[in-house]
């Protein structure tokens, strides 16, 4: 395997850095290449953003909001981890601890993970990848952002004021008859976020069906689109069930009637069925978009077509279909019928097949590729490793016998963090880094980006691997107080979380600094295939000057062409250096003759 270090056009060349004048000129040249008109400068002022119908601007709005929610959820996680440093809940009172993990779960699941990749990268990229001007319903797209923001604000205020401590799963009747009304308000916030998610998914489905560029057949679509499409199906079909569950919860709380409360004749397991009917597929709303990003990163940075395109495409749909049939594995100890348990266990194992197809195909794509370890690729490799652990421990949990032992322990916590954070957030970060030049037109510092990616990987494993052991040894989740023998592993976990926090803070500095100081990226800094790279960076408001006509499938990477391009660029670089050297020589001679450089230039 060949590890290439060279970065394409616009990359820092240490030799060129020595020649100050040459660098200054080439930067100025590049600055001129920066598009004059693009979506970011098509209008100024708050109104041009708050009333925008441009899918790219809406994506930026989403990016800003979900980043805020991510940090709020992260603060709650900080409280949780600090409190678990000691076995006796010394940092905060146990009630506060319960509120902190509830807030962490609600913010991260409903307001960060679910909108993260679809609403930011999906919104930005789906029309670009399809070669169209916008999504099918731009107004609904904007509405869905407002729904998310209103929902998040409502849920956040309700949780802070009301001290909601039910956990993000809101199991009834603890969340209804025995709770104050703030739980219903929080749930109402989630209800609104749910409609935001539905509208986003609906928009994508219609856009993919009806608005593909001429020649862009289904099997010429990038796998990003296939995976986002599968996600959208889940968003549209599963989220309404969450909506009705929340409404029933509200009815039970407000009218004090027993729908779920057994004392009043209701069935609490019904709540769990309804809740997990949404929330298990929701796991794939979070994961499938990560897989969408992966297929783009792996191919670009191994310079190869994807191995088994159709298998990866149909694996996405397969995951979406099976995701609707496995919710009962969250309820092996709930008292549901053991026969149902066996069926759910079997169906849960089935999910491993399409998931494994994807992992094997990405790995096979790496084989004999000319791999470049840029920051997005490091995130992608992190994804494969962490998803492997998260996915395989999922099989442990799908087998009833093991699940009975580790239900509601840190084993489960570690498992889903490996999938949700290890896989999805890695993919999100990788995607942001990959498409950052497209979104902003600027290149960030790749060195710092790699440092951040590796920091995250180390911090993540230190945080969550000990939790597998803790869970297997029997430490239950959601308790502020634990047995003293678990302290060492908990301290390791908190230490890891600190490193992770650093890994999440770093991108703020180099990404924001790239906006001001970053080099101009040009339309296609990574030499990636895909329609989004064929327009300017940042793109204009309507994306393409002329609607592209697609004649080939995706991922037509060609290492031979890359080499020719490398050679051409090297030639240009050498030529520049020659000219520079000649100029310097001339200047030296001229200064010897008492002349100035300006005279010579003129």
């Amino acid at each position: 395997m060949e590890f290439k270090e060279n970065r394409p056009s616009g990359a820092h060349d240490p030799v060129a850095d020595n020649g100050q004048s040459a660098m200054a000129r080439s930067t100025a040249e590049l600055e001129q290449e920066f598009p004059k008109r693009h979506y970011l400068n098509s209008g100024y002022g708050v109104k041009s953003w708050l009333f925008t119908l441009d899918h790219k601007r809406i994506a930026i709005l989403y990016l800003l909001s979900i980043t805020a929610y991510f940090f709020l959820g992260g603060l709650a996680a900080l409280v949780v981890r600090l409190n678990l440093l000691t076995p006796y809940s010394t940092f905060v009172r146990p009630e506060i601890y319960n509120r902190a993990f509830t807030m962490h779960g609600v913010m991260m699941v409903f307001f960060f993970l679910i909108p993260a990749i679809p609403a930011v990268l999906g919104n930005f990229l789906v029309p670009l990848m399809l070669g169209t001007k916008d999504l099918a319903f731009p107004k609904l797209n904007l509405l869905s952002w407002y729904l998310l923001v209103v929902g998040a604000t409502l849920a956040l205020l309700a949780m802070l004021v009301g001290g909601v401590d039910t956990g993000w799963t809101f199991y009834a009747p603890y969340s209804s008859i025995y709770a104050n009304g703030y739980v219903v308000l929080t749930a109402l916030g989630i209800f609104l976020a749910g409609f935001s998610s539905i509208l986003t998914g609906l928009n994508f489905i219609i856009t993919v069906h009806k608005m593909r560029a001429p020649g862009l057949t289904w099997f010429r679509l990038p796998l990003f689109i296939w995976s986002i499409y599968a996600t959208s199906l889940i968003q549209v079909l599963a989220t309404p069930v969450l909506a009705i569950t929340i409404l029933l919860l509200a009815v039970e709380t407000i009218f004090k009637v027993g729908i779920f409360e057994p004392k009043l004749g209701g069935d609490p397991v019904l709540f769990q069925h309804l809740f997990w009917f949404y929330s298990h597929p929701a796991v794939y709303i979070m994961l499938l978009p990560g897989m969408a990003v992966m297929s783009e990163l792996i191919t670009c940075y191994s310079r190869k077509p994807i191995f088994g395109y159709k298998f990866v495409a149909f694996a996405s749909l397969g995951i979406a279909v099976i995701s609707f049939l496995v919710w009962g594995h969250h309820m092996f100890v709930s008292g549901q019928s053991p026969y149902a348990g066996i069926v759910f266990s079997f169906l849960s194992f089935l999910v491993a097949i399409p998931s494994a197809i994807k992992v094997f195909n990405w790995t096979a794509t790496l084989y004999k590729g000319s791999i470049r370890l840029d920051a997005p690729m490091i995130y992608a490799l992190c994804f494969i490793g962490l998803f492997l652990i998260g996915g395989l421990t999922g099989l442990y949990l799908a087998s009833i016998a093991v699940d009975l032992h580790v239900t509601d322990t840190y084993f489960v916590v570690a498992h889903f963090h490996y999938v949700m954070v290890g896989a999805t957030v890695s993919a999100f970060m990788g995607g942001i880094h990959f498409w950052w030049p497209k979104m902003t037109g600027r290149l960030y510092s790749d060195v710092w980006a790699r440092v951040a990616a590796i920091t995250l990987f180390v911090g993540f494993n230190l945080t969550f691997f000990p939790q597998f052991i803790l869970g297997y040894q029997g430490m239950p989740r959601r308790y502020a107080i634990y047995a003293p023998e678990f302290q060492v592993l908990n301290v390791m976990s908190t230490a890891g979380a600190t490193i992770m926090a650093l890994g999440y803070l770093l991108p703020f500095f180099y990404l924001l600094s790239s906006l001001r100081n970053g080099k101009v990226a040009g339309p296609n800094p990574w030499r990636a295939t895909g329609l989004e790279w064929q327009t300017s960076s940042p793109p204009t408001t309507f994306n393409f000057d002329t609607i592209p006509i697609v004649k080939v499938g995706p991922y037509a990477y060609n290492p031979a062409a890359d080499e020719a391009e490398d050679a051409r660029l090297e030639l240009i670089e050498t030529e520049k250096k020659l000219i520079e050297a000649r100029n310097n020589l001339a200047v030296e001679r001229a200064s010897g003759d008492g002349l100035k450089k300006e005279d010579l230039d003129s």
């Binding site: 079909l237 069930v241 027993g258 009917f277």
Partner: protein, 257 residues
């Protein structure tokens, strides 16, 4: 119908075939669509996807209904006998006719027949409102005799129910299960009524906006999409009616099995 749609399609593409695929001429075309066909198909598919979300949302309630009817089958049988099936059947007929008039409204809009469009929209509106009026009488009756859980529940105190309560006790059935039937009944018909109100608002907007012929100038798509929504709420009622009103048998003609 299919032939007509095809001829319309041909007409549209012929009209815009030469101006590089952009229907600049049509004022109803949004800028991000290439032509009217694409816009029309996108909107229709979008509406169907939305209807799918509605079905899943009601699906959760039907799931709850199925669970409790399975667990409390005697109680659901008895609870259902408290329903006024005549009113329910009448309302079913009203909604079915309203579906017909809505379909006629869609047809008239496509034919650009302003007078008929307004008439059919108005009739549909009146029928939808009539449904809600009947529902109001049913609910207020339930309220007066104390059959509304959470708001007015006097089922156990009402002497008229004492016989029934004895029967339930004889079968070892908890009277709480009767309450569950009514909870489910009000949740299902309540959510349906909310959708009816949304539908009526939609029809009112059509009636107001359509006065000046804004749906008969080729811009008939809002009516078509509204029609799809209206048919969906009608279909949901067609399922609600037997599940809630008829599972107990029709008491007035001999009752029970």
């Amino acid at each position: 119908m299919a032939a007509k749609a095809n001829s319309l399609t041909l007409e549209t593409s012929a009209a815009h075939g030469h101006d590089d695929g952009h229907g600049h001429g049509d004022p109803n075309l949004h800028h991000h669509f290439d032509d009217m066909d694409q816009q029309r198909e996108s909107h229709v598919l979008g509406m169907w996807a939305f209807l799918a979300t509605e079905i899943m949302m009601f699906g959760g309630l039907f799931f709850a209904y199925t669970l409790y009817r399975w667990s409390f089958s005697e109680a659901f049988h008895i609870g259902s006998m408290h329903m006024n099936w005549q009113m329910g059947a009448g309302n079913t007929a009203v909604l079915l006719v309203s579906s017909l008039t809505m379909a006629m409204a869609v047809h008239s809009a496509a034919l650009r027949d302003q007078k008929k469009l307004m008439m059919y929209l108005a009739v549909t509106f009146v029928l939808g409102a009539a449904f809600l009026v009947v529902k109001y009488f049913e609910w207020s009756h339930d309220f007066h005799i104390g059959l509304v859980p959470g708001l007015a529940w006097h089922y156990y105190d009402n002497p008229a129910n004492f016989g029934e309560l004895r029967d339930l006790a004889a079968h070892g059935v908890s009277p709480e299960q009767i309450k569950m039937f009514f909870i489910i009944y009000f949740c299902m018909t309540g959510l349906h009524a909310i959708h009816m109100i949304v539908g009526l608002i939609m029809l009112a907007v059509f009636l107001l906006m359509g006065r000046k012929g804004s749906f008969t100038n080729g811009n008939d798509q809002p009516i078509e999409l509204g029609g799809l929504y209206w048919h969906l709420i009608d279909i949901i009622w067609v399922f609600l009616f037997p599940l809630l009103y008829l599972v107990g048998g029709i008491s007035a003609v001999g009752g029970g099995h």
